[in-house]
């Protein structure tokens, strides 16, 4: 099964593999032995930007050796630069005879920063400087040193705003990649948590980290992630969503095939299942691949609350997903094609409400949905304090006014409002937004072909979803193809002590995740007696 699957995957990818270039690095210019030349070149490279700090220093006791310290103001810890770099270079106690000696001494001993790396080309040197390192060049040496003095203003770790839970960690990812990896390291304290970092973007040179647990994650998937990332040849990556579009499997699908989250616990959960996470510098949103459909309707809370509550909430969420997808179209289909389906008093009441409304129900539905979408979008864009006011007042006033003006029936307003609320229950925004678009298609189908249209539309969606794959894993994984061992954590969540195995497609390398038979039981009578005796003896 998997072989066929991978075959399919690679057949699709093969033609692209050799064309994938390695990252286009900066110019392969060598570092000149003349410090003056380097100075000019660096200055020119940054175009005289005022935040570039270049400083000649006279090194050692004799002052014959000159050195150049380069860093960017605002990206470095200035105190660190002066205390650990500048101070040591200019220390007159050093007896240096040659630049070579000074350079080696600096590199191996004196620069008291933890991370010092040696670079050979000027381009690389400049890249380091641009990323916040403090660069040191010594006159006459064609190599340079980059000291890790990075420190810049960033947001502290806060509660994730887009995915809040009642129970669970209150930490969310931030814009700094290092902080984010540390959040993961703190949760998985095992050397097998491997992080590979690469820079993407010709100009932006954004750091992207591939995070996985070695020995748990499927090698093929990790390799596939690497391949796809390496092929990206763009000028910049602004956000992980930018990255997502370059590596996703189905770019034309309304369904997202990559999960994004700003919750570290969600990421570690996925890592432990054998998935791969991508962290992008500059955004709190991490990407998780491969993502299956059920992952988009689960929240970490499902796993923290007790299992039947978790299961019930998850079922409710699935129900609201379907409501947000189909309710308006079902309403349109039933009221314009299948009036026999509703009980008589209800149908009479709806008919009375529709009395005098000039549009067909389809048009009414589309208009009301559009109004609702605009309201929601406005609510998101406005300043945080005004946003809710606009949504609430807009919703109330517009809905009421539309009814009074005879443009919409109260039942339709209710349907649309409920649909909107149901769509908020979808935990992942990227899925919810895709569903919003599909809803309009279904309304059109319902308006033309009734329930047959809705069924045809849902059938088409089902076919589409079944053909989808995320990094080789079927999108509807435990549902189609049915994987019985994974159904325990799909529509329902089984208790933790029953979740003994990892998902089939991603966790086959190390399928067992915990010892069997962990179900808690009250101690049996013998055990009790033993404890009792032990207690007595201990008391003696």
């Amino acid at each position: 099964m998997l072989e066929g699957l991978w075959q399919l995957l690679f057949r699709r990818r093969r033609h692209g593999q050799d064309s994938g270039k390695t990252q286009t690095g900066p110019a392969k210019e060598q570092i000149s032995s003349k410090l003056q030349v380097n100075y000019e070149r660096i200055k020119a490279a940054f175009g005289n930007s005022p935040d570039l700090v270049l400083r000649y220093l006279e090194a050692g006791d004799q002052g014959k050796i000159s050195a150049l310290v380069v860093h960017i103001d605002g990206l470095c810890d200035k105190r660190l630069v002066s205390e650990t770099v500048v101070e040591h270079i200019t220390d007159i106690n050093h007896k240096w005879d040659s630049p070579e000696q000074a350079y080696v001494d600096l590199r191996d001993r004196l620069l008291s920063v933890s991370g010092v790396s040696e670079v050979n080309s000027l381009g690389e040197f400049i890249t380091h400087v641009a990323s916040g390192d403090c660069g040191v060049l010594v006159d006459g040496i064609t190599r340079g040193l980059a000291c890790d003095t990075r420190a810049w203003e960033h947001r502290g770790v806060e509660e994730p705003t887009t995915e809040s839970t009642i129970r669970g960690t209150k930490e969310g990812f931030v814009e700094s990649l290092r902080t984010n990896t540390s959040l993961l390291r703190r949760r998985i304290r095992d050397p097998r948590l491997w992080i590979e970092e690469l820079k993407i973007g010709r100009i932006s040179k954004t750091s992207v980290a591939i995070v996985y647990i070695s020995g748990v994650a499927e090698d093929k998937i990790v390799q596939e992630v690497r391949n796809r990332l390496r092929k990206i040849d763009v000028d910049s990556i602004q956000e992980s969503g930018h990255l997502e579009e370059f590596i996703e499997d189905a770019p034309f699908s309304p369904f997202p095939t990559i999960l994004r989250t700003e919750r570290p616990d969600k990421v570690t959960g996925a890592l432990l299942e054998g998935r791969v996470a991508l962290l992008t510098d500059g955004t709190p949103f991490a990407l998780i691949v491969p993502a299956t459909f059920t992952m988009f309707i689960t929240t970490p809370e499902d796993y923290y609350e007790r299992y039947f509550i978790g299961s019930a909430i998850r079922l409710l969420r699935i129900a609201s997903f379907f409501i947000s997808l189909t309710l308006p179209s079902l309403y349109v289909a039933i009221t314009t094609f299948h009036q026999e389906m509703l009980p008589t008093p209800l149908i009479l009441s709806i008919a009375a409400q529709r009395e005098g409304i000039p549009f067909p129900a389809v048009v009414e539905a589309v208009i009301m949905e559009l109004i609702f979408e605009v309201l929601r979008e406005a609510g998101v864009r406005l300043p945080r304090l005004v946003g809710p006011a606009v949504s609430i007042i807009g919703g109330l006033v517009l809905g009421e006014a539309a009814m009074r003006a005879g443009l919409a029936s109260p039942a339709m307003v209710m349907v649309v409002a409920f649909t909107g609320i149901a769509s908020f229950a979808t935990p992942v925004f990227s899925l919810a937004i895709g569903v919003r678009l599909l809803r309009f298609l279904l309304i059109a189908l319902a308006g033309s072909l009734g329930l047959f249209g809705v069924v045809a539309g849902m059938f088409a969606l089902l076919i589409h979803q079944i053909t989808l794959r995320s990094f080789g894993v079927p999108y509807l994984e435990p549902l189609a193809p049915v994987v019985f061992s994974d159904l325990k954590d799909a529509l329902l969540r089984a208790p933790w002590w029953a979740l003994n195995t990892r998902p089939k497609f991603v966790g086959e390398k190390e399928p067992t995740r915990q010892a069997p038979g962990l179900r808690p039981k009250p101690p049996s009578r013998e055990e009790k007696e033993v404890h009792h005796l032990e207690g007595k003896e201990g008391g003696k």
């Binding site: 066929g4 389906m341 072909l449 009734g450 329930l451 059938f459 089902l462 079944i466 053909t467 193809p481």
Partner: protein, 370 residues
């Protein structure tokens, strides 16, 4: 291993697809109950028809297992020679298309008779065939998963129909059993057998694409049992609810769902259950389109089957329109003397000829199989 279809499916999906393909015509039309002389024995006809089709499934699987890496089209050419083999292949493909056309027409009729009489039947047929063709083009894996996924939905609605009209069910309607002996049951049983065995011929196409071809026999028997027992029970429920009038109903299961009300909120859910039956018919169609397209590609020695799917789909719609003048026409065709002869001549006839040829040639040596 040929390259026309790359995927392999687990036998479980075979069960789902075959079961759905059988459930579809029964839930939409229940072919043999209409016009039955002694309708209260319909369940016996259904049960016997199902039992009869089990040996046939085993037979087709056995034939297929002689060439576990070849479809029925391929080995018929090998067994019967180039021209005769191709002829048999063509007959089989034509048969698959006609069955698909009948299913499509039945669904279209169901919608135009009862739910949306003013909409042209072509709309329903084209939309359905188009969707099924898309699924078929995505390969057997997709169709298999579709089947595996949808069977739960279809089963849910079937069970709903078994439970909800409980108030109307009077199982004493089933008595007297076999009041007029076996004679009136024989022909409906033949019809039931034709419908149960109709889909087994697809097994000849799917078998080489199974993960373990050896499972084919077992899992197709599961499919027969699942669908057969459900349909037997459905026949019993229909008689329990409708009594003697059931033999006058064009779409008994549909009429049954008209009686259902869910908690006084949804009164007549026929349009919804019809949706579920449409789903099963869609998967039936997808499977048949896939099988006939792959068969055609193999017949002509083409390396891809996908280009054949849409033309075949168009053919299915055209046949569906042309075959039957009216739904009465279709019901007449469903009588045993028509469909039984047609279906048995093709399915039993071809497989028997192939099996005899295989016997005469003896078991192929391992080298020949390659």
């Amino acid at each position: 291993m040929n390259k026309i279809e790359g995927g392999k499916i687990p036998a479980r999906q075979l069960t789902a697809m075959l079961a759905l393909s059988r459930i579809a015509p029964f839930t939409i039309l229940f072919p043999m109950i209409t016009g039955m002389e002694v309708p209260q024995d319909a369940w016996i006809a259904s049960l016997l028809g199902m039992l009869l089709s089990i040996p046939f499934a085993l037979f087709v699987a056995r034939l297929g297992l002689r060439f576990p890496d070849k479809t029925i089209i391929e080995y018929s050419e090998r067994l019967l020679g180039r021209y005769l083999g191709k002829l048999v292949g063509l007959v089989l493909i034509w048969y698959l298309i006609s069955v698909a056309a009948t299913t499509t027409r039945a669904v279209g009729d169901a919608y135009t008779i009862a739910i949306m009489p003013e909409t042209p039947i072509l709309v329903f047929m084209v939309v359905m065939v188009f969707l099924a063709a898309n699924a078929a083009r995505c390969g057997l894996e997709v169709v298999g998963r579709l089947g595996e996924h949808s069977i739960w939905i279809v089963l849910f609605f079937l069970i709903l129909m078994f439970i909800l009209p409980f108030d109307e069910m009077r199982f004493k309607n089933l008595a007297p059993v076999l009041a007029r002996g076996f004679r009136p049951v024989v022909e409906p049983m033949g019809t039931a057998f034709s419908f149960f065995s109709m889909h087994i011929i697809v097994l000849g196409m799917i078998l080489p694409y199974l993960n373990k071809p050896k499972d084919a026999a077992r899992y197709s028997v599961y499919a027969i049992l699942i669908s057969g027992l459900l349909m037997t029970w459905l026949a019993a429920v229909l008689v329990a609810v409708f009594g003697p009038t059931v033999s006058g109903l064009v779409m008994p299961a549909f009429s049954l769902s008209r009686l259902i009300s869910i908690a006084n909120f949804l009164e007549r859910i026929e349009a919804i259950t019809m949706g579920a039956w449409t789903l099963s018919a869609g998967i039936n169609l997808a499977l048949f389109l896939w099988a006939s397209a792959v068969g055609l590609a193999q017949l002509f020695g083409v390396s891809r089957y996908q280009p054949f799917v849409y033309p075949l789909g168009a053919l299915v719609v055209a046949f569906g329109i042309l075959f039957y003048e009216s739904n009465v026409d279709m019901q007449i065709f469903f009588e045993f003397r028509n469909i039984g002869v047609f279906s048995m001549a093709v399915t039993l006839g071809t497989t028997a000829v192939l099996y005899l040829a295989a016997l005469m040639r003896g078991k192929p040596s391992p080298r020949m199989r390659r």
